[in-house]
């Protein structure tokens, strides 16, 4: 389960960031922000080869001692970043993929809301509760 989930706009500013409350929130902001370096690089590398059949899931962006950072980019260049604890070895690639898919579906619902202005921070309760379901449960 994730310790931090973020949605980043096409222009690389955060639309939504949620992290486990037990740890330093700022640290996760930095982690997500720095991971954008790799995301940008991967997007530009993929853009050169096949623009149409691009895989949305970017895989493990980079490992740190404490966390693993995964990335996903939608066709409209909105990025999703999931940070999981390095110690959590039970999590497989497939599960990460399905988390991203769920996130993408839920985000699509947010975008479909006629009262939501694309580019504004995400404030949807449905999205929030879906994210909560994917986060590490703090007892």
């Amino acid at each position: 389960m994730a310790v931090c989930i973020a949605v980043i706009a096409k222009e690389n500013y955060p639309l939504y960031i949620r992290s486990v409350p037990t740890q330093n929130e700022l640290k996760f902001h930095y982690t997500v922000h720095t991971s954008l370096d790799v995301v940008e690089e991967k997007i530009s590398a993929a853009g050169k080869t096949m623009a149409d059949q691009r895989e949305l899931y970017l895989g493990l962006l980079y490992p740190t001692e404490d966390y693993k950072v995964y990335g996903y980019v939608t066709n409209s260049k909105v990025k999703f970043v999931i940070v999981v604890d390095s110690s959590n070895t039970s999590l497989r690639d497939n599960e990460i993929r399905s988390m991203f898919r769920k996130l993408h579906n839920s985000f699509t619902d947010v975008m479909c809301n006629p009262f939501y202005n694309p580019g504004d921070p995400v404030q949807s309760k449905a999205f929030d509760s879906m994210v909560s379901g994917m986060m590490v449960q703090v007892s």
């Binding site: 922000h33 690089e41 740190t64 001692e65 504004d120």
Partner: protein
């Protein structure tokens, strides 16, 4: 250096090379020896064998060899690896000792020298007692040796020397001191290298042989030690593959050791050493992935081995060092050609090292109490000044059991270590590591990672109380976070920066950060904002602000004193702050109400201000600077006027109005800056028309928004700040003219004519339009050729020519009273066809009043018209013979006819005035009389024809084409008035081919005949050559005629002479009849025959029937 405890020993980090000692060389005083030594050690490139040479004295004492242990049964090792061991084998115990000795084979004192040499060898041998070190002798000789086997003396003496010194033949070398010194030296050192390898091989065998004596219970440490030694010797032997293998074994053995608190450090130290060696060799073998995998394994195995809780910082220091040294190895490998990638580069290792150093600092702050005094005697002092074994505690060296021998000693030892740690400059270490990481991430395209690390560096500088550097770094990266709109991170950085600025009492920076922290990008809570705002107001009032929370109290009080001085000193200095590139707490947007204003309208501009801070802000002055500074005076509000207070979240609007100057018509007025004065000396300034680092994006979002918005000037009243758009410039345009300009003309224009356009200007002004001026002609900006082919004039009296311009500027038309009109005719002559655009620009000036000001405006009105020019008529000309047969060529001196057809293509009727021919070669046969076309009126599509009888004079050259001349037609439009000048159109006539004939014949006959009446025909035959021509003539019989005359004749005609032949034809039938055919042949001129001459002769004649006479007889017959 404080961190030195954790540094890897240099003997571990260097590349081990075989150690060879050279003795018997006097490098200081003997030039030959010096040269030999230099040849060994200078310019050692990679292609030379890896040996480290050292010059030692002949009686040098080598380290003593301990007596070999025969049994390990009672031996308990005291540690894993002695601190001196690596250095001993790298620098102290040679693999080979070489004795240099000057001796030639034919030396006269051979015997004495030989025994001296043997003695020296013996001395070396003695000092190497017990070691396997080899000894070799090099004889330095002055003479070049003969090839082997030829010098019998040499081989005999060599073997005797070997015997004397107890050397094998392979260990005796000769070094002739000749020109090829370096070549000999290279051969020598290759031989030395072989000896050294043999030595290290035996050493490996020796260490391996110990293994059988060891047992697993007591000698665990020795297993590690021996594997390490074997690996190290393998490295010395340059057998890196095996070295790697042994190091790997050693690494797994070190983790099999029983670990407990007392020996944890030793185990980790050794594990770190071995790991370093493994990674280093992996990189050397170009298997970086193996190195990374080994390092990961190492970290995973060691991460949890913290050891004593009281010394937890030691573990972090050690971890930091592990990452740092791996990063350095990685970096070094990259310098040697390895390629790294964005997600796997040394930067990550430096970063992690920095991270562990930060943890170390935190732990050190927790564990090391400030007040502790170092116990005496210092438990960290050892009798030797160093440790015997790597990674042991100075106060219990060699101790290997689980519990410490003396708890009290243990306690003071730990305390001493903590005190030592307290003095370590952690921040320096962290900053150095971070800056290494920054350099790497910069290289591998990670700008955000770089920024993040720079923030950490800045924070570390802040902790190290180096606020200037901290601010510099933070200020540098702030901009990146601002443009990427990561407000949370920006706020965190600003908070630190604010603390730095406060502690330095840097007034301007302090205010800048305050303003941004109060702004809408700040994620601070209301109460914090409120506190910051109060501080800001204090500074504005020249008071000392309150200390930032989370600053150390001692620092804060120092800062407060600094502030007092600052405020006293700089109390009256004006501070101007550019806020455009920040997100300040007061937002400003300005706009002109329209993108353009007529000069007779007052220009209006609005400045919108909005405060985002929690408390109301009042200001003392608001001013707008414009590109024309003379307007600035109208765009200022100063205190004393109402509405100078900005309420949080409310938009205030200030409107300025001014009248533009007439000389600025056609110019742009731009806002160059907006200045807002807070307090008495602080100015916030925006460039242009306001906005800040975030406003562009907000405007974009607002425009995307689906919320209903109102456009136009009322938008701001909705409170929709984001959708307010900036209009930073306006155009001053001339007053709208109140005149009408009408054109009347009859298109299309005809080529070359004086085309008349009548312009009527009617004034609808209320005042007098003064100095009305007309600029007319071809509109500029069309095809450049058109201006050469268009001429404009006002003078109708004469046809304009090339000297007349295409555009007539500024024709004065005088003043125009209200309601009056003026008419002007313009004549245009177009000398080429095609469309043209003509411009009629009417300018005038008028007095008017704006806002009570009397201004003199220039107005103008433009009219354009596109006029097509067409040809008025087409002229075609053709040549025909006098018989009106088309002619291809004209015979010299014989008349012919020129016919011209003039076909009108003008839509308007044309009046032809006259026409004439301007002949070149030809002469006219008819006297010049009135033109046949005079006063002919030609409607569209009608054609006017004319004939001219011409002749080519004989003088002309007989052959080739000649120009005929020109046809000039004078004409005008029928509708134009009589005094309009005529247009003369000149049409060039076609060229014609000329021809000479030797014989010309023409007939003279009546225009008709009558049946049964004599028809006399006279043929004139002219000889046009310079020769006498013989002509044969015959008349063929014809059914229609009888005739009298010579039927067949031969005659001679003299040059230039003419012969006449007379025939009387007697027509027999009525109607068109062919005349009897005349056959002519010239025997001297066969090309001219009947056929060529026939064209000159009439072919037929009309024969009228016999006239009916009042003849009774015929009536009777009827």
């Amino acid at each position: 250096m404080a961190g030195s405890q954790w540094e890897l020993p240099p003997e571990l980090c260097c590349r081990p090379m075989a150690f060879v000692a050279l003795t018997g060389l006097d490098v200081t005083y003997n030039a030959v020896h010096r040269a030999i030594w230099d040849a060994f050690c200078v310019n050692r490139r990679a292609d030379r064998v890896p040996i480290s040479f050292k010059v030692l004295a002949g009686d040098h004492e080598y380290p003593k060899c301990r007596t070999k242990r025969t049994s390990y049964e009672w031996y308990i090792p005291k540690g894993i690896l002695k601190t001196g061991w690596m250095n001993k084998h790298l620098n102290l115990v040679p693999a080979l000792v070489v004795l240099f000795y000057e001796l030639d084979w034919d030396d006269p004192q051979w015997k004495e020298k030989q025994s001296e040499c043997a003695t020296k060898v013996e001395i070396v041998r003695t000092s190497l007692q017990g070691r396997n070190t080899k000894v070799a002798v090099v004889l330095i000789q002055k003479k070049t040796p003969l090839p082997p086997g030829e010098d019998l003396v040499a081989s005999e003496r060599a073997s005797s020397l070997c015997n004397a010194c107890d050397l094998s033949g392979k260990s005796l070398f000769v070094l002739p001191h000749t020109d090829h010194l370096v070549g000999y030296i290279i051969r020598l050192e290759n031989a030395f290298y072989e000896h050294a390898q043999t030595y290290y091989y035996t050493e490996i065998r020796r260490v391996k042989s110990h293994k059988e004596f060891l047992n697993k219970t007591t000698h665990q440490l020795l297993f590690v030690r021996h594997q390490f030694k074997i690996a190290f010797f393998s490295e010395l032997k340059q057998d890196t593959q095996n070295a790697l293998k042994y190091y790997r074994t050693a690494y797994s053995l070190v983790h099999e050791l029983r670990a407990h608190e007392t020996n944890m450090l030793e185990i980790k130290t050794m594990a770190g050493f071995i790991n370093y060696k493994i990674c280093r060799l992996c990189f050397q073998h170009n298997t970086p992935l193996d190195a990374i995998a080994q390092f990961r394994k190492h970290i995973d195995l060691c991460k949890k081995k913290i050891g004593s809780g009281d010394l937890a910082f030691e573990h972090n220091a050690w971890m930091s060092k592990q990452f740092q040294s791996f990063g350095e190895l990685f970096d070094e490998a990259i310098k040697l050609g390895l390629t790294a990638i964005q997600t796997q580069n040394p930067g990550f290792y430096y970063q992690q090292a920095a991270c562990y150093s930060q943890d170390r600092k935190l732990l050190a702050q927790q564990l090391c109490q400030a007040g502790a005094v170092c116990p005496a005697p210092d438990p960290l002092d050892t009798p030797t000044g160093g440790l015997d074994f790597y990674g042991q505690r100075p106060w219990r060296q060699g101790h290997q059991s689980i519990d410490p021998p003396d708890p009290e000693k243990e306690r003071t030892g730990i305390l001493a270590l903590q005190i030592k740690e307290r003095d370590v400059a952690h921040s320096e270490l962290i900053i150095a590591l971070l800056s290494n990481a920054v350099a790497q991430f910069k290289k591998y395209k990670c700008p955000r990672m770089k920024s993040h690390l720079m923030v950490q560096m800045g924070e570390e500088y802040y902790h190290a109380k180096d606020y200037t550097k901290a601010l510099k770094l933070l200020d540098y990266v702030m901009c990146d976070y601002r443009t990427e709109r990561w407000w949370g991170l920006l706020t965190a950085i600003l908070t630190t920066a604010l603390r730095c600025a406060y502690l330095m009492a840097n007034v301007k920076d302090y205010m800048t950060y305050c303003m941004e922290l109060l702004g809408r990008a700040s994620t601070l809570k209301e109460e914090q904002k409120s506190r910051i705002e109060k501080n800001l107001f204090k500074v504005l009032k020249n008071e000392v602000p309150e200390a930032e929370p989370e600053c150390e109290p001692s620092e804060s009080s120092a800062a407060a004193a600094l502030w007092k001085d600052r405020m006293a000193l700089s109390g009256s200095n004006e501070v101007s702050m550019e806020v455009q590139d920040y997100i300040p707490f007061i937002q400003c947007k300005a706009r002109f109400l329209a993108p353009s204003f007529h000069v007779d309208q007052p220009i209006q501009l609005q400045v919108f201000l909005r405060a985002d801070c929690p408390h109301p802000v009042s200001f003392n002055k608001l001013s707008v600077s414009l590109s024309n500074q003379s307007y600035n005076q109208w765009c200022v509000v100063e205190s004393g006027q109402d509405n100078m207070c900005l309420s949080p979240g409310k938009t205030s609007c200030f409107t300025f109005t001014f009248v533009a100057k007439t000389q600025d018509v056609g110019k742009k007025v731009e806002m160059t800056g907006i200045e807002l004065m807070l307090g008495s000396r602080v100015f916030l300034s925006w460039r242009g028309a306001g906005g800040d680092a975030a406003s562009a994006h907000e405007a974009l979002q607002a425009s995307r928004s689906s919320r209903p918005r109102r456009h136009g000037p009322e938008a701001w009243q909705e409170g929709d700040w984001d959708s307010l758009t900036i209009q930073h410039s306006t155009m001053i345009i001339s007053r709208v003219p109140k005149i009408s300009v009408q054109l009347s003309h009859q298109p299309p224009a005809l080529n070359n004519e004086m085309y008349c356009i009548t312009l009527t200007i009617q004034s609808q002004e209320e005042g007098v339009a003064r100095e009305v001026r007309l600029t007319t002609g071809l509109k500029p900006g069309q095809d450049a050729n058109l201006s050469q082919a268009t001429h404009v004039t006002l003078d109708r009296a004469q046809v304009c020519d090339a000297s007349d311009p295409a555009l007539l500027p500024d024709i004065p038309l005088g003043d125009l009273n209200p309601g009056h009109k003026v008419e002007q005719r313009v004549y245009v002559r177009c000398v080429s066809t095609g469309p043209r655009v003509f411009l009629f620009h009417v300018a005038y000036s008028i007095n008017t009043s704006v806002d009570g000001q009397e201004i003199n405006c220039n107005c103008h009105k433009d009219e354009t018209v596109s006029i097509e020019t067409v040809e008025p008529f087409d002229v075609s000309a053709k040549f025909v013979s006098t018989k009106f047969e088309p002619l291809e060529r004209v015979v010299v001196d014989i008349p012919f006819v020129l016919m011209t057809d003039l076909l009108s293509s003008s839509p308007w009727p044309l009046l032809l005035h006259s026409s004439s021919l301007q002949l070149v070669t030809m002469t006219t046969c008819t006297p010049q009389s009135q033109s046949q076309l005079e006063q002919v009126l030609l409607q569209t599509g009608e054609c006017a024809s004319e004939c001219f009888c011409l002749q080519c004079p004989p003088s002309a050259d007989g052959n080739g084409t000649v120009a005929t001349g020109q046809y000039v037609v004078s004409w005008r439009r029928e509708s134009s008035s009589l005094d309009t000048p005529l247009v003369h159109t000149t049409v060039p006539l076609p060229h014609i081919l000329l021809e000479n004939v030797p014989l010309y014949i023409h007939a003279e006959l009546p225009s008709f005949g009558r049946v049964r009446e004599t028809l006399p025909v006279r043929y004139h035959i002219e000889n046009r050559t310079a020769l006498v021509q013989q002509v044969e003539m015959a008349v063929e019989p014809s059914d229609a005629f009888m005739f009298s005359g010579l039927k067949q004749v031969r005659l001679h005609i003299l040059p230039g002479a003419e012969q006449q032949m007379l025939y009387n034809y007697y027509p027999l039938m009525a109607g068109y009849q062919s005349l009897p055919q005349l056959n002519i042949s010239l025997p001297r001129c066969p090309t001219t025959n009947t056929h060529t001459l026939r064209r000159f002769l009439p072919q037929r004649i009309f024969v009228k029937p016999q006239g009916r006479q009042l003849d009774d007889a015929s009536i009777a017959a009827a």
